[in-house]
Amino acid sequence: MPESVRALVERFKPPVSVRTYGTVFTDTSEFMNIGYGDVIHVGARNYLVLGDESERRFGMEDPKFWVKRCIELETGLYRILKLEFAESFDQHIGPLTITCHRSAAKEARILRLVAGDARFMQGVAHKDSTGNLVRVLERVAGRRLDLNIEDIHADHREYFHELFPGILTRFIAACRAIHHLHQHGETHGDIRRDHLYVDHNTGDYCWIDFDYGYDSVENPFGLDLFGLGNILSFISGKGVHAIQELDQAALGLTEDDCALFFRHRVVNLKKLFPYVPEGLNRVLMHYSAASEVFYETVPELLADLEPCLDHLNDHPNRA
């Protein structure tokens, strides 16, 4: 390791045990070989690797070997480096299987498009010495929206009347952010409730991870609209309500009250919480197994959703 980089490592290495003075990588093709203590040199900067990022799904740690937690040695700032990993794989949505691909180029394009836009994670892309696109990302100073909502200690009625209008306001802003992508011919591609963060300082929502892509289809934004519906159902219900955990007979629940793709998730929330306004419930029912009409664009969704917000804000119980 060159002396100049070694000095930077000395200055900024974290106060944990790190294998010091690993290898400096300018070519990130073999990302499996890049580990803690190594340095990635890209975009005229050096990034000390602390470890691989991982995703916790269904209680399991799923390591992402192409995503490195790093310290930018020139500034001491925490950065996430996503290394180029082109793959195609099948994604399962309920009974459907969709082939999608991971595209560094797509994410790099979107990072350029949303630079300075707090509704999206921020970062820049650089090519390494062999042309791999490395995305250098800032850590979002916030927490996953779904975890925030799960931690709210209030019953649904109190949550719905006191907190939900503010959450819906911010969710609508997040929908507009997705529309901004669509207007520029892009899609998010992987809209999930754990890909929406709440900024610690402003409380605003911020989308992360937009490297998934799909082949062109007749409804290019259908998958994004599907993801928005899932999040809307989650925030409206203060979580997922599985039909098998409910008294189906007493509530009059049928399969038609459940989500089109997840036949155990109740989306007809009015049957569970009668104070859910009809307008909001109608939006949710567009995502149900009974629906014959689907949203194709964000403006179509918002045309129905925004009046619900006005209705909620006018509610007499609203503080």
């Binding site: 009974p95 691909h101 011919g185 892509g213 409804n219 290019p220 793709f261 629906s291």
Partner: protein
């Protein structure tokens, strides 16, 4: 609109071939019909390919597939009795916007086609939500023409 001025919208699928065969069976003995085979061509998503060369190669393959299909479709129509001179082909490039369905409808309006023929994949409700259905959009949005949907 002239109902004998017929637009058959195809891709290179078996469903499209079924639509062509159906139209051929109906139109073969008919007099005074003109048939245009329309192929809406959309380039594969560039993001799916690691290199420009790989993408261009796929574009070339797809493009060749278009012409192979159109030649096959023409032969089906001629075999059914249509005059060779009554058949024409047209390909239109389409990006993400407008949709394929809208592009077909634009061609239909512009060309004064009174009959529109299209195959149908038979999507499930879920597939229609996520991916969209060209034939459903055509049925909903076509104006001043008959739409034959062949499954």
């Amino acid at each position: 609109m002239d109902f004998r001025n017929i637009l058959i919208s195809v891709d290179a699928s078996d469903n499209a071939l079924r639509a062509v065969e159906y139209a051929a069976a109906i139109l073969g003995p008919a007099q005074g019909v003109r048939v245009t085979l329309l192929y809406i061509e959309r380039a594969p998503n560039r993001d799916r390919f690691e290199t420009e060369d790989a993408w261009l190669n796929q574009c070339r393959l797809d493009h060749q597939g278009v012409f192979d299909f159109l030649a096959k479709a023409r032969s089906v129509l001629v075999a059914a009795g249509l005059a060779d001179g009554a058949i024409s082909e047209r390909t239109v490039l389409c990006s993400t916007e407008p949709s394929i369905a809208q592009t077909i409808l634009d061609v239909q309006q512009e060309g004064g086609y009174g009959t529109l023929v299209v195959g149908r994949r038979g999507l499930t409700k879920g597939e229609e939500f996520l991916f969209g259905s060209v034939s459903t959009k055509l049925v909903h949005n076509a104006k001043n023409c008959a739409v034959w949907v062949v499954q």
